[in-house]
């Protein structure tokens, strides 16, 4: 339940600047999700907040207190490591109970809370196992458990669900949301999962090469990305970008249209296209097409009764056309 304030925070490894000076406010009790391509500095950001990495410049404030030079242990944060960082010589029970033991809680309380967290995470059967005897997903859940068992000022979660299967992941996602609603503890979560980002976040921070590209509510970012990077990064399959005469005609350097905003019809439409590949996911299908505007992806509900090689017509929904200038900045929506 803490407000985290980053002021001009930056990090260099040697000469390489991994995080450019960035300012960020994580409001008390909010759920913030950090997304960005691999290697963009997400983990580094979390580690700086946690106090595991020395800052190169800038300050970290927790509840107004400058903790830039405070030891990690004294910041009162809980973290789930991307690499799990389980204690190899302790079994699951001891791993999860460790923070409580460190806090000097009485043994019966520890036992009870560990038991509760473990069953919440579906780890009831493995309590006596060592990390080397666990599956990847079980390990990750232990790492989560170690954080959940505490009552920290804030949670820092570095891709906490990446090793879980879809069902478990969905369950864990809801569990996290429920937890956040119940505790209203500040949460900072790194993920590369679109669904996680969109559903959990009150606020998404899009990081790219150590720079914050945009911050905002999930749907706001989805519908009004401030630049081409954000537009392309959120949403899967990614947004289609069209350059050339068609874009210029609309007064932009590039046009963006999401796959779900491309209407596909057998007859009639704006642009013709040839179906290359169909990815059928069951609930939906992705059509990979070649057209005069380049390679495009369209999204269809259910299974498409099309086959590769067929020619179809594509029509972008005008209300959902994004326009970008040469520098990649978004241009205002065109009236009409």
């Amino acid at each position: 339940m803490a407000e985290i304030l980053l002021e001009g925070l930056s990090k260099r490894f040697g000469t390489e600047e991994v995080l450019a000076p960035l300012d960020l406010t994580i409001a008390e009790g909010s759920f913030v999700v950090v997304v960005g391509p691999s290697g963009c500095g997400k983990t580094t950001l979390l580690r700086l907040i946690a106090g595991l990495e020395e800052v190169s410049s800038g300050r970290v404030l927790i509840d107004g207190r400058d903790v830039t030079h405070t030891a990690a242990a004294a910041r009162g944060l809980a973290m789930v490591f991307q690499s799990h960082a389980l204690y190899p010589h302790m079994n699951v029970r001891e791993n999860i109970g460790f923070p409580l033991k460190m806090a000097g809680r009485p043994a019966p309380e520890i036992a009870a809370r560990v038991q509760a967290v473990a069953s919440q995470l579906g780890l009831g059967d493995c309590l006596a196992r060592k990390p080397c005897q666990l599956s990847g997903g079980e390990r990750q859940r232990v790492a989560i458990g170690r954080a959940l068992v505490r009552a920290p000022a804030a949670f820092l979660l570095d891709e906490p669900l990446s090793s879980l299967d879809a069902e478990l992941r969905a369950r864990m996602r809801l569990e996290l949301a429920r937890l956040h609603r119940a505790l209203r503890t500040t949460m900072l979560l790194v993920t590369h999962d679109q669904i996680e980002a969109m559903t959990l976040a009150e606020q998404i921070v899009v990081l790219n090469a150590g720079r914050v590209e945009q911050t905002g509510a999930p749907l706001a970012l989805y519908h009004a990305p401030c630049n081409r990077f954000v537009a392309g990064f959120l949403g899967s399959p990614t947004m289609n970008f069209i350059e050339g005469p068609e874009a210029e005609r609309q007064g932009a350097h590039a046009l963006g249209i999401r796959p779900e905003h491309l209407r596909v019809t057998r007859a009639q439409g704006l642009w013709p296209g040839r179906v290359d590949v169909i990815e059928a996911l069951g609930a939906e299908s992705f059509l990979h097409l070649s057209s005069g505007q380049g390679r495009l992806v369209a999204r269809l509900d259910g299974s498409a009764d099309l086959r590769p090689g067929e020619t179809v017509w594509l029509t972008p929904a005008p209300a959902h056309l994004h326009r970008f200038d040469a520098a990649g900045r978004a241009l205002p929506q065109r009236p009409g």
Binding site: H69, T70, A71, A73, A74, S83, H84, R139
Partner: protein, 276 residues
Amino acid sequence: MSSLSPLLRKAALTLLGWSVGLTLAFPILWTALVSFRSEADALGAPAAVLAAPFTLESYAAITAGTRFTAPFVNSVLIAGGATALALLVALPAAWALALFPGPRTKALLMTILGTRMMPAVGVLVPVYLLFRDLGLLDSRAGLIVVVMLTNLPVAIWMLYGHLREIPGEIFEAARMDGAGPGAELRHVIAPLAAPGIAATALLCLILGWNEAFWTLNLSAAKAAPLSAFIAAQASPEGLFHARLCAAAMLASLPVLGLGWIGQRALVRGLTFGAVK
């Protein structure tokens, strides 16, 4: 140490580290100092020893002729040869023990160490007879074998300990990448266990260099190493502190130097960031 500023903390550590180091090394530093004093000065009070003039006369006295060089060469050959051999034999053994543990591994490890339990003084006569009959008395080969054998259990144990520290999946990855046992040993185990191997080699070298019982008792003139040189310096008629110190320094400098280099290799610790 938590809230100390990094700089202050480092300064405190520096102070602590240096005082520990200097305290532990003090007898040796003092020995070194005395070795550069004349015999008469060396026997004085500490303040006088400190103030006395520098001289190399003790070194000159004990290195006269070939009395130092021959044993020195022997020591290098014996300690080096024994170490190399011991590592050659111990590394595969430790690898097998560490990576393919079976129900008998622990018993085997104990047995290996058990071979060191016989007090050497108790078996000297049998071994002497054995060496006499094999014609190995006063031969470097014989001494290399003996020193190697006395160090082998320790080498296996140390290497075993270090190898067990390496996460097993890395070896599995190597196997999947088509590495046979030899390549695995060479490309993965050796470099990964490098600090451990360096520590083990250093230990074997030191133990081999300082081994004084077998080398003294099984050698005469041809194969005698520095332990014999030292035994020739200890307590002649009268106490020659300076000369004793000089001999001690000469005999120890090579291993001290090795330690200096070795510890640098040891620092190069590895972080296992690759394994989740």
